[in-house]
């Protein structure tokens, strides 16, 4: 197998992996162009970690093929390992050792020339804002710092393809934002990145392409915008403070699109799916509601979130993400039709 890859850093086709009777992966296909970010999105147990373990040579697939930078992960595992970096939910950081020692050990184990390890470690410590704590044991670091150190360790040998398995799971909001910034910067330097996440906003924020994985299968894929368009595009939403005038408001906006408005009676909230003509529909809605003399609050246009995508393609919510982060929201289809 040569190094004649045209532009794809990762090619996955018909990948299967079972553990006894559990079919963790049932035929996954996707490609990741060089220098781009693929977000693999799915709830706990969807098969994301299994996929990453196969792609990083840790697990042999039952069938199917994975090629990383032109090398087959089964036949050329050693060549693949020289080109990839992996940072996971569990950090490989040895907490008793200092940040610098951790990086230098990882560099030596990556077979970097002894002379260049030191400089590279120092550079990463500065870049990941750990330089001040470089010579303190890693157990004195905050969670965010430990995660940054772990990421730095996976980058020590300048891998061309980086795998991040749920890089922000367990971090506080501040730590998450810091991680996002670092990931964006990495991608700016041309690293190909595959990241798994349960957080829909994270995939939205970082990925060029998203594959939605559920029960071992890719159930949807595309750019974040394409996926959102699949569930009906933009959504116009507003609240009618006066319960008695809800019907009038519904009549006023009914002609805005082919979709019938939905009403959540309890919250007096009205939603209209307006496809990709969001801005025109917004202006038109304001005009009509004004003409009808209906008072409204919180009139706004929403692009559907990836929560909506997940619900639409899987039939169930992305439980792990929306629930434990407290912004479970109702999708239009759960509202009471007008």
């Amino acid at each position: 197998m040569g190094v004649q890859h045209i532009g794809d850093a990762i090619e996955v086709s018909a990948l299967h992996k079972s553990f006894g009777k559990v079919h963790a992966l049932r035929g996954i296909d996707f490609t990741v162009p060089r220098g781009s970010v693929l977000g693999m999105l799915g709830p706990n147990g969807a098969g994301k970690t299994t996929a990453v373990r196969v792609l990083t040579t840790l697990l042999r697939p039952d069938s199917g093929r994975v090629v990383i930078e032109g090398y087959d992960v089964v036949r050329d595992a050693a060549a693949v390992r020289r080109r990839i970096g992996l940072a996971g939910q569990a950090t490989a950081i040895q907490l008793e050792l200092t940040g610098r020692e951790n990086l230098e050990i990882m560099g030596r184990l990556s077979h970097m020339p002894r002379g260049s390890v030191r400089g590279r470690a120092a550079e990463l410590l500065v870049r990941f804002e750990i330089a001040d704590a470089a010579d303190r044991p890693a157990k004195t670091y905050s969670g965010g710092m430990q995660r940054r150190l772990d990421l730095a360790a996976s980058l020590i040998a300048e891998p061309s393809v980086l795998f991040l398995d749920e890089p922000t799971t367990g971090l506080d909001p501040h730590g998450r934002l810091g991680m996002w910034e670092i990931i964006r910067e990495l991608v700016g330097r041309g690293t190909t990145l595959l990241l798994t996440t349960q957080y829909l906003d994270e995939a939205d924020e970082l990925a060029n392409t998203i594959v939605v994985v559920d029960r071992g299968e890719v159930i949807a894929s595309g750019t974040p915008d394409q996926l959102k368009d699949q569930v009906g595009g933009d959504l116009l939403e507003f609240t009618v403070p006066d319960r008695a005038r809800i019907d009038e408001a519904v009549q006023a906006v009914a002609g805005l699109s082919d979709a019938a408005p939905t009403v959540e009676t309890e919250s007096r909230r009205i939603k209209v799916a307006v496809g990709s003509h969001g801005s025109t529909a917004l202006v038109e809605a304001v005009r009509r509601l004004d003409a009808a003399g209906v008072e409204t609050e919180d009139l706004a246009l929403h692009r559907p979130s990836l929560d909506d995508v997940f619900l639409a393609v899987t039939g169930h919510a992305a439980e792990a993400s929306s629930n434990d982060r407290g912004h479970a929201h109702k999708s239009p289809s759960t509202g009471v039709p007008a």
Partner: protein, 275 residues
């Protein structure tokens, strides 16, 4: 598109001698890492060094008075090879626990996704643990000298005893490595994974002459490997007609070789299956 410059070293497929050099240097890097961790954690040092020292003092001054020992040097001479053997066996608790932690925390996964030699995690662990074991053995011999122990059989005998203790410790390490990687749960490893070390070391000739045990227990004690190893260590340390070197030495070497042949492949297999 960015063209990523690859380091020269990764471009061609490495040959066998390069692989061997990496295997050695990776094992040494892992050894250094493991020893650094040991030195950084006071609790580990206390557990590995202070505990055997307490055993020496306890048996020398508390229990020793009640134990009649064969040989000219009295109980302290009889005791020290036993304590050293037991220390080598107990030192492997740390092996099992460290490997179990690395397996569950995903550290081993991370190493396996790197270009480092597959053997380095286990080899580095065994080398570091035998170095640690040697340091502890030398400390205990020092403490033994302070409380009256003397080698009776020359420098050669003393060196032979330490080497056999090391070989014994490395052998028990291979079992512990297997247990740690197979069970993978730190608490379980501590609770029952290595519980067999206690009867093997205490129901042996390590602390008391076997003749003082009830008959049914003597059958076990006389024929189990720890007794054979400690008898051979004692023969090398003390010499003299009460402590014949053979057949204890060759029997214990056969035992150690047998255990290694079984457990090294088992440990390697469970290492491959981690995760």
């Amino acid at each position: 598109m960015t063209v990523l410059a690859e380091p020269e070293i990764t471009r061609s497929r490495p040959d066998a001698s390069q692989m061997a050099r990496w295997a050695i240097s990776d094992a040494l890097v892992m050894t250094r890492r493991n020893l650094l961790v040991w030195l950084r954690v006071p609790a580990y040092i206390v557990f590995t060094v202070v505990q055997p020292v307490i055993f020496v003092l306890l048996f020398r001054y508390v229990f020793g008075g009640a134990i009649a020992a064969p040989g000219s040097g009295g109980y302290v001479d009889y005791l020290m090879p036993g304590i050293i053997g037991q220390t080598a066996a107990f030192a492997t608790f740390a092996t099992a626990i460290a490997l179990a932690q690395e397996a569950t925390k995903g550290v081993i996964d991370r190493f396996r996704a790197m270009p480092m030699a597959r053997s380095a995690v286990l080899a580095g662990r065994l080398i570091a643990d035998s170095i640690r074991m040697l340091i502890v053995i030398l400390v205990i011999i020092g403490v033994g000298y302070a409380v009256g122990f003397r080698f009776q059989n020359g420098v050669g005998g003393a060196v032979g005893m330490v080497l056999l203790a090391e070989a014994f410790g490395v052998t028990v390490c291979s079992v512990s490595a297997f247990v740690g990687l197979a069970i993978k749960d730190e608490e379980s490893v501590q609770a029952f994974g290595l519980i067999w070390i206690f009867p093997l070391t205490f129901v042996s000739s390590a602390f008391v002459p076997i003749a003082t045990m009830p008959g049914w227990l003597q059958v076990f004690a006389n024929n189990q490997p720890v007794t054979l190893v400690i008898n051979a260590m004692r023969a090398m340390a003390l010499g003299g007609p009460q402590f014949p070197l053979n057949p204890a030495l060759w029997e214990s070497l056969v035992w150690l070789a047998g255990v290694l042949i079984v457990f090294v492949p088992l440990a390697v297999r469970s290492y491959r299956r981690v995760g």
